[in-house]
Symmetry: D2
Subunit: 153 residues, 4 copies
């Protein structure tokens, strides 16, 4: 399906392990769904704890799962001895995130040895349909020779 060839045979396990170590993903109730080379989807269900003042999904939640979806899409193409870092992103919130479920679909546009560019679209599920509520353009960096593990204190 994907047009990218992963450098790690264990790319899916590596993504799922890393995601499981992110306290913030558990806190907001995010789930890792699709994991393919260069393509990762992350979803979160609505509850009052992820809302803003009008009762929609908070923009920060939208940005958080989009950042993670694009970051893991990039990470899925990186070699075994590397980790990923978000350099920067820009997000447009194009419609209110008003619905039962959010899903961020991260896709690598351009993989690179040092920098990877990803595009992420976020959809909110309402009345049986997915509505595009945000779009992100993101730059990621490969941190070579650095395991994707917790820092040692």
């Amino acid at each position: 399906m994907s047009r990218f060839v992963p450098k790690s045979r264990d790319f899916e396990a590596r993504v799922r392990d890393s995601f499981a170590r992110q306290g913030a993903m558990a806190l907001i109730g995010a789930r890792l769904e699709r994991v393919e080379p260069g393509a990762v989807d992350i979803a979160v269900d609505f509850r009052p704890e992820v809302s803003q003042q009008h009762g929609f999904f908070h923009g920060g939640i939208v940005g958080t799962i989009a950042d993670s979806a694009g970051g893991y899409a990039a990470f899925s193409l990186m070699p075994d001895d590397a980790t990923v870092l978000t350099v920067e992103y820009k997000i447009n919130l194009i419609a209110p995130a008003d619905g039962e479920r959010l899903i961020a679909r991260g896709r690598v546009i351009k993989p690179g040895r040092t920098l990877t560019v990803a595009h992420v679209d976020v959809y909110v599920h309402r009345d049986g349909h997915d509505h595009n509520c945000a779009t992100m353009l993101q730059t990621l960096m490969t941190m070579a020779g650095r395991a994707d593990a917790p820092k040692q204190r």
Copy 2:
């Protein structure tokens, strides 16, 4: 101190009330600190629930409080019958958010009737010092004639 004159006499109460209605801010443990015309600071203390896989603050948390700090800085200058909407933002994560406390300082660069532009710097407190770990450029929209209140279902 501030070079902006607020349109609402109750600007500070309006910001604090709106912030208190955001479930997502409570979930991540964010606190509203400084509220002045065009200038709002938001802080969050470190705990594992706001971490990424290396044990630093998650980039999504950094983005979330930065988005809120810039958004409320813009909202503090809006009239009583208006609410604020984030149009878009771009954030550069310039250093690891490794420390005990994050603080996002949102400042309006250019207020406008329809659009407001804000700049936000995020600092992480570590070893007694604040380190600049992220910088954001953000566009906000005034939604006139729309109270800053929950949607009616």
Copy 3:
């Protein structure tokens, strides 16, 4: 072909007239190619006058035609009494703009009464192929009741 219905019957003439009044487009040798509702392409041929220090197309030229392509894609959907303003854009230069011809393809993602969001991809033609060299995400504003004409001095 396009999924958007233009508000002006003269949308194409309006885009072509406005483009013809831009001194900067003539200066860099840019040509307006495709003009459809919500979709505008702008091309420029290589010559030393549009280069940077390595002999590729200058990033500013890439950004300039991308900004215009997205802006005119938005303008093509606006009513007769309105003009367009670029609010902001973000561009990733994903490959060297090394080739004979640049083409920027501007596409509206989300039209709106006040704000429109566009996506622009820029391709450089080299060795018989178009290579994606830049990608832009852009926010445009409708200035209602303001003719798209020169200011009066």
Copy 4:
């Protein structure tokens, strides 16, 4: 004045030589003004050739000199055997660029071995004052071991 220490003793000559090789800067009539470690200013005078359809400076010209000012501010801190590449930038056009002269002031926020982040403010001179008309946040990359010279065909 500057808080940065340049890695090259010839940083100013390197910036001026590179600028002089950019055909696009000559085409638009841009002048290199201030060159200090991490700080570069570029100016351009108004003439119809750099205008958009309303007779102001074209947004592409604003973006072009801002991109160059930030890029050269980053380059001024790089070692002798390196060149600079713009990874991406985001620009907000916060006021009409209506005036006699534009000046872009590029300042490094965070220099790095691989990536540098710069902030650029653009001012338009009108009626004896400089008005802030655009603000940019930009990511640059150091290309080590690659001279800042034309490509060999």
